[in-house]
């Protein structure tokens, strides 16, 4: 594909790349031009999507990449004309296929034919996107009847064909959604969406709710189907690694606009927009251990902001006066590489970033060797079995072994990562260590004192030494309590402090985790996800613990916020000599933060060792599977690349 270099550099030509062939004829697929979505709210107008243009050719995968709140899901819903109530398409056009048909002017009845037919969409949450009271066959048959007019035996045969295409079997036809695993549900949904033989398939975060090994399978399936059927695939994702594995071209969204648009290789080798560059800089990697992750200060501007210049300028390290005064045009900075930045063509600002990383080492020396330090946590053969009860008298007929003989040890100032997929028992293990669940067998000792048998005052005292930070910053703070009360709760229960020193400590804690002091009198809903997670960390620190169990503390956060939280955790560890038990499924984070890794599967630890060894030379096949499934070519490949 070639590009006409003589094209004037202005907003009206935003398609770029392979948008037009050399002859200028349209190639089919999906063309979005100047899409603007407005939500009128109480006299103001929110503009979550403003002037978005891109193009998905048949037979290519385009990734729409962005952090939460940037407008990428809104864009997808607008393409399907499924915007939530209150939001409306203010401007723009969407054309599909050859000859191009304008979707925004179609009557609703005709749009119904297109939707799920020529243009299909799969959603993030496989739990809720299938009807729980219909069988898989019934739901596929519905789509077949609507779009192909197939009924009876013909529909049955076609349904089987579709199921086989997505890697399910004939036997799954009569299954209800609850009988399927998350990955199988997502496959069934894909089969449904393929029923209408779509020209373009929109996948909105299709694997975010899935485990990494299942994610790899689903992504592979989507990529395979897209190539095999010559569909266009619009993949909406927040994951840079997923985008790099899947996409031919990438559109990076920020604050309702596309800020960069180029082929995958161009974006990943020479990002030209400072935002894209920052996104790479905040990714934790094994090779960046000990360095401070570059931070992306500030927040995404709210959708009712009025912009006089570049939308990214307030957060941009390279911003100069022109950035604040003049809105940068979306122009072709290099052949086929479009960016919305005044400096996109010149590389001057690009050197700044690596320096700042080196200038901010976070923990260069680690003092005494770990082995010489005190052991904080000693877990021996810990087991948690849940009885399975049946019958009228609820007799235990067996037991489910959630944790089945786990042994761990953790030193002061050390981070042990516990890696595993959902359902492997890692969260149960964490709760059993804290005695939030009573273990069935084995022993836990914190700072040399066994927890089993402790009760009353002794157990309460022990609780001050071990604390936990949870995954979901929205569920982990009581919405009806002020931040100050949340922080004081643990102190009131565990520390012998009077009211005045308690309040002083609240201030100190807020300062420590980088929150404003007036936060104490505010409610959790006034804070963003990252800030809430800071509150959760401060709450755990309030009782001066020695051991902090971090249960997926960053997996609900955007990458830029994740970087801030990881930096904070690293700082706090150095300052307080905390021992971290870091539970996660995210291998790059493990590589960045942990010294040792334990891989857990079905209640047992299958492999344990120093992080470098586990991530580069794993011995157990399950560890290898995890590493190979990680998007972005896996840690192994990346590590080898950088050596």
């Amino acid at each position: 594909m070639s590009v006409s270099h003589g094209r004037p550099k202005e907003r009206e030509h935003p398609l770029g790349g392979t948008a037009r062939s050399a002859k200028g004829a349209l190639m089919g697929g999906l063309v979005v031009e100047n899409l603007r979505i407005e939500i009128p709210v109480a006299g103001r107008t929110l503009v979550p999507v403003d002037g978005v243009s891109f193009r998905v050719e048949t037979n290519e995968c385009v990734a729409l990449l962005g952090e939460s709140g940037c407008g990428k899901s809104m864009t997808a819903l607008a393409l399907m004309r499924l915007l939530p109530e209150g939001a409306r398409i203010a401007k723009g056009s969407v054309k599909l296929g050859t000859p191009a048909e304008e979707l925004f002017t179609l009557p609703e009845a005709a749009m119904g034919k297109v939707r799920g037919g020529r243009l299909a969409m799969i959603f993030q949450e496989p739990q809720t996107s299938l009807n729980p009271v219909m069988t898989v066959a019934g739901q596929i048959a519905e789509a077949l009847a609507a779009h192909l007019g197939l009924r009876g035996a013909a529909a049955q045969a076609e349904a089987v064909r579709l199921l086989e295409a997505v890697g399910l079997t004939r036997g799954h036809l009569t299954a209800y959604p609850f009988q399927l695993s998350g990955g199988q549900r997502q496959r069934a949904l894909i089969a449904m969406m393929l029923a209408g033989e779509p020209e373009v398939l929109i996948a909105d975060e299709p694997t975010t709710a899935l485990d990494v090994t299942v994610q790899a399978q689903i992504l592979e399936l989507l990529r395979g189907l897209q190539r095999q059927r010559g569909m266009g695939l619009l993949l909406i994702t927040h994951d840079l690694d997923v985008a790099s594995d899947m996409a031919d071209r990438v559109a990076v969204m920020y604050a309702g606009q596309i800020v960069e648009w180029a082929s995958r290789d161009q974006i990943y080798t020479t990002p030209r927009h400072p935002y894209t560059q920052r996104l790479f800089a905040v990714l934790p990697r094994l090779e960046r251990r000990g360095q401070r992750l570059d931070s992306l200060p500030g927040r995404v501007p709210p959708p009712d902001s009025v912009f006089t210049g570049c939308r990214f300028a307030p957060r941009c390290a390279a911003a100069f006066s022109r950035c604040h005064e003049e809105i940068p045009a979306f122009h072709e900075a290099a052949p086929g590489h479009f960016a919305r930045c005044h400096l996109a063509a010149s590389p001057a600002w690009q050197a700044a970033s690596p320096d700042s990383q080196v200038a901010n080492p976070i923990f260069t020396s680690r003092g005494s060797p770990l082995a010489a330090r005190a052991t904080i946590l000693e877990v021996r053969n810990l087991a948690v079995h849940f009885p399975i009860r049946r019958g009228l008298f609820r007799r235990a007929v067996g037991s489910f072994k959630a944790v089945d003989g786990v042994s761990l040890s953790l030193h002061a100032g050390e981070t042990l990562a516990l890696v595993g997929e959902s359902g492997c028992g890692k969260s149960t293990l964490a709760r059993a260590i804290l005695r939030l669940i009573e273990p069935t067998g084995g022993s836990v000792a914190v700072a040399g004192e066994a927890l089993a048998g402790l009760s009353g005052e002794a157990l309460r005292r022990k609780r001050a030494e071990m604390q936990i930070v949870f995954q979901d910053p929205y569920a982990s703070l009581n919405p009806r309590m002020r931040i100050g009360d949340i922080l004081e709760e643990g102190m009131a229960a565990l520390l012998p402090l009077a009211a005045a020193p308690r309040r002083a400590r609240v201030k100190a804690l807020l300062d420590q985790v980088g929150l404003p002091l007036d936060a104490a009198s505010r409610y959790p809903h006034e804070f963003s996800g990252g800030q809430r997670q800071r509150v959760a960390i401060a709450r755990a620190l309030a009782v001066r613990p020695k051991l902090l169990i971090l249960d997926e503390p960053t997996s609900a956060l955007d990458v830029s916020v994740q970087a801030q939280i990881l930096d904070l955790l690293a700082e706090l560890q150095v300052a307080h000599g905390l021992a971290y038990l870091f539970i996660t499924h995210n291998l790059p984070v493990v590589g960045y933060l942990a010294q040792r890794v334990a891989v857990m599967r079905a209640g047992r630890i299958v492999e344990e060792g120093p992080v470098e060894q586990i991530l580069t030379a794993p011995r157990h096949e399950y560890t290898r599977l995890l590493l190979d499934s990680a998007p972005g070519g896996g840690i192994t490949a990346r590590h080898k690349r950088c050596m």
Binding site: A42, R431, L434, L436, L459, R460, R463, M466, Q467, I468, F470, Q471, D472, A475, S476, L477, N478, P479, R480, M481, R482, I486, E489, G490, A493, L494, Y523, P524, H525, A536, R539, A540, V543
Partner: protein, 381 residues
């Protein structure tokens, strides 16, 4: 005159004293005052608060009971009348005593039924006789000629009492048992579920009828304790509140159990447990505030249901004392009035208007309070 303290008056005083004490304790707490200030800022909040306070003051005035001293011969010990009156009766004396013979339409000048009247010419004919107080009855008069406006105003106390006392009886059961069942699960849940399933499977009216009859027998047996008609109907009202409360908590409890089941898995509850915070405190600080919106909505909806339940039970004959003035008895009486020709509609209309305004104001006010108490919707208009 001599003040009389009925049992329900004592309970109302206790309630008022508790409220006053709570207000006194919370008077400097900005966090508690803020939501109420927000309620009072909005127009809906102000208007509904005004209407509710009007109803409540009428109810309170009607709760200050006394008996009048009869004119006695000098040197004799004071004699008191047998009729218990309230401060409201005192204030409403003009319409209380302006009794007609029988039905008269609102603001009518003549009676609603024909009678033999002597004309000025001395000839007797059938005609609508002149009222004693023409145009003085805003809502007309009832069968025995009592002013319907007076009856409606007197009904307010009964309605408020049934609504609030029953809720007060019900709430501890519903809150305590509902949240505990959801939070603790296991055996506690089993027992509580067993309890409310059993209670629910007994027909409510049957249970209430049985309880009211038992209470009536007890009243007869201890006639010396309840020496006035007012005292007897008062005790019967309280008993009704009690039994409605004891049987009425199951719906809310089930709702709260489900909500608590959901909440106890949330991480802020786990975090509190990791701090070793006791179960009682977790229930009180983490679960209770997060189910309050449900409680508020259910209680206000139940309130109107209770006022209606009183009418239904009066119809069956196990409600409040037939001699007691209440919306239920008014509606019950309207049954026959609607069947007669020509129709007497004003008694039902008056009961409807007064109840409608009360329930609507309570609902709107509760909405405002709920919004103000929810930190998420605070600041939204």
């Amino acid at each position: 005159m001599k003040p009389i303290l009925l049992w329900s008056d004592a309970l109302i005083l206790l309630l008022l004293a508790t409220l006053a004490a709570l207000l006194w304790l919370a008077r400097h707490n900005e966090a508690l005052r803020d939501p109420w200030r927000q309620v009072m800022r909005g127009r809906v909040g102000r208007v509904t608060a005004l209407i509710l306070s009007l109803y409540i003051s009428i109810g309170l005035l009607d709760s200050a009971h006394y008996v009048e001293r009869l004119p006695a011969a000098p040197g004799q010990p004071a004699q008191y009348g047998g009729e218990v009156r309230s401060a409201l009766d005192g204030l409403l004396t003009p319409i209380r005593v302006s009794v007609e013979k029988t039905y008269s339409a609102p603001l009518a000048a003549r009676l609603y039924a024909k009678e033999s009247v002597m004309g000025p010419d001395g000839v007797e004919r059938r005609d609508y006789p002149q009222l004693k107080h023409p145009g003085a009855h805003l809502f007309g008069t009832d069968k025995v000629g009592q002013d319907v406006l007076y009856l409606s105003l007197k009904s307010i106390r009964t309605g408020l009492l049934i609504g609030s006392l029953t809720t007060l009886v019900m709430l501890p059961f519903a809150l305590g048992l509902g949240i505990a069942a959801g939070y603790f699960g296991g055996r506690v849940d089993d027992v509580i579920q067993y309890l409310y399933t059993t209670l629910n499977s007994i027909p409510g009216v049957l249970l209430i009828a049985a309880a009211v009859l038992v209470v009536q027998v007890q009243i007869e047996a201890h006639a010396e304790l309840f020496n006035t008609a007012a005292a007897r109907s008062d005790v019967r009202l309280l008993a009704l509140c009690g039994i409605l409360g004891v049987t009425g908590w199951t719906g809310l409890a089930r709702l709260l159990r489900a909500e608590a089941l959901k909440l106890r898995e949330l991480e802020f509850v786990l975090a509190a447990r990791a701090f070793g915070v006791g179960h009682g405190r977790i229930l009180l600080r983490h679960l209770l505030p997060n189910v309050m919106h449900l409680v508020l909505i259910t209680v206000v909806l139940d309130f109107s249901g209770l006022v209606l339940a009183e009418a239904v039970l009066s119809y069956v004959g196990v409600g409040v004392d037939p001699g007691m003035i209440s919306f239920g008895n008014m509606i019950n009486g309207a049954r026959l009035e609607l069947a007669r020709e020509p129709v007497v509609w004003w008694q039902l209309a008056a009961a409807f208007v007064f109840m409608f305004v009360l329930v609507l104001a309570a609902n709107l006010f509760a909405d405002q309070v709920r919004d103000a108490l929810d930190p998420k919707s605070r600041g939204r208009t």
